[in-house]
Amino acid sequence: MNAQPMQLLTILTEAVLEDTLIEEIMELGARGYTISEARGRGTHGVRTGKWAAGGNIRIEVVGDAALCRRIVERLHSQYERDYGLLMFTCAVELQN
């Protein structure tokens, strides 16, 4: 039960991408992920989450820096141009 330094990668993106991104993330070696619903506004306009395919999701992955970088790079090259997407990382201590 020692705290381990890790990265928390948070991805805010369109709900239609859910299945696709999860496949990518697991393939890149994540041991798990957490998803929750969100809505918001960014450079791609307002996304209210009210209308079919109109919502955002938040995907969170706890992993080491290398994993987070791999995911960021993949998403950056594949999805950033066409989809609403915001990614940021933060240092956390895993407590399991």
Partner: protein, 314 residues
């Protein structure tokens, strides 16, 4: 002109949006209403289908699908060359207009009920058939000579996307169970249908009110397209229905089907298959303009057209 009170709920929703009321239909309720409508329409179609030998419908079906395919093929060059829109946007919008709207169709059916006009019940089968080819055509138009398409993913989305899946599933259950087998479900799926449609239109009004703004940004061309395209498609539908010897009611419904533009199946499919197209454009046009145009003005016009051609042809 024929007037159907249920469309007042659309006005109520749209006004709530424009007046910035805090009225909201929760997302899960919207989902439930649409599952209900898709299943109910499917079941109704299946029960009707069970009354006809399927073989008889094959030729009709082929003609209708082929005529329907003309819609995106006409819409695409209009958008691309007259409207100077990007290839992706033109293809995506063309797919929306080639595909169909279950709610517009339902408003058409309730109008027939009010006017006491019969129609060929198996027409609902064509609702299912027409939803798909336009989406595939849209992707071909966007991608032709432009790299690869993930066809597997797209076709899966087209056939197993919830709207077609529920329509087709309801159709099969209605067909297998028949009118007698479905009868204990009538109290839910048929008796409440129009009330649920009213609630759905309330929500459509709310959403449409937020889409008109998006449309305004993209100017007069798209707004004109959103009104003239359905009239063109309806004319095609009237002629097709008349050629196929449909009743006035059936001819009108086919025209409504052709004139309607998708805002559920098509947006989801296009977002995956043609992601570089701007969804605000296609949904703004189909939901913000064409949908209200159809339910308020289009539908009465199409009924008039259907009556006219039958009066002339008879």
């Amino acid at each position: 002109m024929s007037f159907e009170p249920v469309v007042l709920f659309f006005v109520l929703g749209a006004a709530a949006g424009l007046l910035r009321s805090d009225l909201k239909i929760p997302g899960s309720i919207y989902e439930a209403l649409s599952i209900f409508i898709l299943l109910a329409i499917g079941l109704k179609g299946g029960v009707e289908l069970a009354k006809h030998p399927i073989g008889d419908l094959l030729v009709d079906g082929l003609v209708i699908v082929l005529m329907g395919a003309l819609i995106p093929l006409v819409a695409f060059p209009v958008l691309r060359y007259l409207g100077h829109m990007s290839r992706a946007d033109s293809a995506s919008i063309a797919a929306h207009y080639g595909s169909v709207s279950v709610v517009t169709f339902s408003v058409g059916i309730t109008l027939l009920g009010q006017e006491k006009l019969a129609f060929e019940g198996y027409l609902i089968v064509f609702l299912v058939l027409l939803e798909m080819p336009a989406l595939v055509l849209g992707v071909i138009l966007a991608r032709y000579g432009q790299g690869t398409v993930r066809w597997g993913k797209l076709l899966h989305e087209v056939f197993f996307g919830k709207s077609i899946y529920l329509l087709a599933g309801g159709l099969v259950i209605g067909y297998v169970a028949g009118a007698d087998g479905i009868q204990p479900l009538d109290k839910l799926f048929f008796d409440l249908f129009k009330g649920v449609l009213a609630l759905f239109l309330l929500e459509m009004g709310l959403v449409a009110s937020t889409r008109i703004a998006a449309l305004r940004e993209y100017g007069v061309f798209l707004a004109l397209f959103a009104v003239l395209m359905p009239i063109f498609s309806a004319t095609l539908g009237v002629v097709t229905g008349w050629m196929l010897d449909f009743s006035v009611g059936g001819t009108f419904l086919l025209a409504t089907l052709f004139a309607s533009a998708s805002y559920i199946a098509a947006p989801a499919a296009m977002r995956i298959a043609v992601p570089e197209a701007n969804p605000a454009l296609s949904i703004g046009a189909s939901l913000g303009m064409t949908f209200p145009f159809n339910i308020f003005l289009g539908i009465p016009i199409y009924l008039w057209m259907a009556r006219l051609i039958h009066a002339g042809g008879g």
